[in-house]
């Protein structure tokens, strides 16, 4: 039994896989890199989608987690390269699985701390306080000379993954794609679980959730930390894609971009982030090639989406979301 949304999702997943494989076959690595960018942004937005889409938590600070993941990768790689111990005598590493683990742990932990305070507020206050925390992280990175400060930090050689040559664009794409698919699988599980039920219910009616005996705060806090960890993972991959980390990954533009991706693709929808990221990267590439002011046109498209297609691209393609 295949419903329309599942079909749309499968097509999107197949397209994201097929396009770079074909581009690679035709010797066009540039498009492979574009597709990798889509996969990573989709992963970052999938993290945010957990908090924003399922939980209704409009975080305007997810760049903090994206950047923290990026810096985790950059810093670990720098120490692995130089051989200087990192802290407590621990050395760096250039192994992606370990880097991902650290990125997720640190981002998740910072998410927990930020959430602990931010989640006591709601609405506009929540938006503002998450933004404020992210800006604190941003200014901290800028003013911390050990890891490049304002100039950022280069990763000289892309980090490694057992059994793959990560310097080959298509190999690195496949790694990112696989991570994205795993994250989407996790999203499906969480969404359908008891935890996901409570989280979605808290978005719809907080008082109702408390009235049946579930404290919304703890549910949201947990969701926020998981969300941060996933976005942090995406940050680590993004650093490896560019082989460069800079404070711009932490800036509020990045936070805004992630929200835009979700709205374009379809808030709360499993494949909303992927659809949104694909649209965004295509706009950036196509419109960006035509005019410097491509973001103006992106703004128009966003406005159109909000006014006329509230469900985003997924809403247009697959209809209204269903909750069972």
């Amino acid at each position: 039994m295949l419903n329309r949304e599942t079909l749309v999702n499968l097509i999107l997943a197949a397209l994201l896989l097929a396009v770079p494989l074909m581009a690679n076959a035709f010797g066009q690595p540039f498009y492979v890199t574009l597709a990798t960018r889509v996969a990573i942004l989709a992963l970052a937005a999938t993290g945010l989608n957990l908090a924003l889409g399922l939980g209704g938590l409009v975080s305007f600070g997810h760049a903090a987690f994206f950047g923290i993941g990026g810096y985790a990768a950059g810093i670990l790689a720098t120490h692995a390269f130089s051989g200087d111990p990192l802290l407590l005598g621990l050395s760096g590493t250039n192994q992606m699985p370990l880097i991902w683990l650290v990125a997720m742990l640190v981002a998740g932990l910072v998410g927990l701390l930020i959430g602990l305070i931010s989640l006591r507020t709601s609405g506009v206050y929540f938006i503002m306080i998450t933004l404020a925390f992210a800006q604190m992280v941003y200014y901290f990175a800028i003013s911390w000379p050990a890891y490049g400060g304002e100039d950022g930090l280069s990763i000289l050689v892309r980090n490694q993954f057992p059994g793959a040559n990560t310097m080959k664009p298509v190999s690195f794409f496949l790694i990112c794609y696989a991570v994205l698919i795993v994250a989407l699988g996790l999203f499906v599980l969480i969404r359908g679980s008891r935890f996901g039920s409570a989280l979605q219910a808290a978005r719809q009616n907080e008082v109702r959730v408390a009235t049946v005996g579930i404290a919304p705060y703890r549910i949201r806090l947990t969701a926020f930390a998981i969300s941060a960890a996933l976005t942090g993972l995406a940050g680590a991959l993004f650093a490896d894609l560019n082989r460069f980390v800079s404070p711009s990954m932490l800036s509020w533009h990045m936070s805004g971009e992630l929200i835009v991706l979700i709205i374009l693709g379809g808030t709360g929808r499993l494949f909303g982030p992927l659809a949104g990221a694909a649209l965004f990267v295509i706009f950036e590439y196509v419109l960006g090639g035509l005019t410097e002011r491509w973001q103006f046109f992106l703004g128009l498209i966003l406005l159109g989406t909000v006014l006329f297609a509230r469900g985003g691209l997924l809403g247009l393609l697959a209809g209204k979301a269903r909750h069972g």
């Binding site: 599980l189 008891r194 039920s197 409570a198 009235t211 947990t222």
Partner: protein, 249 residues
């Protein structure tokens, strides 16, 4: 005499200059239906809110089964056994009727920190939730989103949710409102049997239902309890007649 299940002593609550609850004391005994009646704006819903924790009293104590719950959060009080319905339905609108009840069942079973097993394949949740929907007669509407249910059906759904919590006390804020005569009659019969499960504090304007169901009635006017007694006592009370009942009595 049996220990009261729920006991309010000397509750006071003001909204600015307005004293919405004025030194209210009342209790709910095992097996009884205690009706709380009074004119619009008397402070009935405000009192229910304070019992459940959605509003905090300025002073006074609230005990549930002997335990002071007046300082606890909404979720904690619910877990200790308060099952309520709202005057204006409060449901999760995108979820089906079934999933609305399932949320209560999962809360009642203990943990919501389970991340992987799909709820829609969890027989322990679905079976019990369907049983609750059947009790209120909503089984045929189980898959309909709460937002698409009729007004009366939403009231029934709220009761099904309260049932799922295995409450020690029910607090029902105008469950008959908007039900229509047929619905009210059916619900009256249902509440009559529900008291065996747990006592009910019933806020209701439908006097036929109140007189048919209540073991005791308290009359609230301008935040104050002006009388408490049996149906007969309240009907005869001259102060109550002027303040509220008028020609109902």
């Amino acid at each position: 005499m049996a220990e009261p299940v729920l006991e309010l002593s000397d509750i006071v609550k003001s909204f600015g200059a307005l004293r919405a609850t004025d030194h209210v004391s009342l209790d709910l005994k095992p097996g009884e239906i205690h009706a709380l009646i009074g004119p619009n704006g008397a402070g009935k819903s405000t009192l229910i809110h304070q019992i459940c924790g959605t509003l905090r009293q300025d002073s006074g104590t609230i005990r549930l089964a002997g335990k002071d719950i007046g300082h606890l959060g909404v979720a904690e009080r619910s877990r200790l056994g308060l099952g309520r319905t709202f005057q204006v339905s409060s449901l999760t609108p995108d979820f089906s009727a079934l999933r609305n009840v399932m949320l209560a069942v999962q809360a009642q079973q203990g943990s919501s920190f389970r991340f992987f097993k799909p709820v829609m394949r969890d027989a322990s949740l679905i079976d019990r939730s369907m049983a609750m929907l059947e009790r209120v007669g909503l089984q045929d509407r189980a898959r309909i989103p709460a937002a698409e249910l009729s007004h009366g059906e939403r009231r029934q759904l709220e009761i099904a949710i309260a049932l799922a919590l295995s409450s020690k006390a029910f607090l029902l804020d105008e469950p008959m409102a908007g039900m229509g005569p047929e619905g009210s009659k059916a619900l009256t019969g249902f509440l009559h049997s529900l008291r065996q499960e747990a006592p009910i504090l019933l806020v209701e304007h439908d006097m036929d239902a109140v007189f048919a169901l209540a073991d005791r009635i308290s009359v609230l006017v301008y935040g104050r309890v002006i009388a408490t007694g049996t149906v007969e006592e309240i009907r005869r009370d001259p102060a109550v007649r002027t303040a509220y009942l008028g020609d109902h009595a």
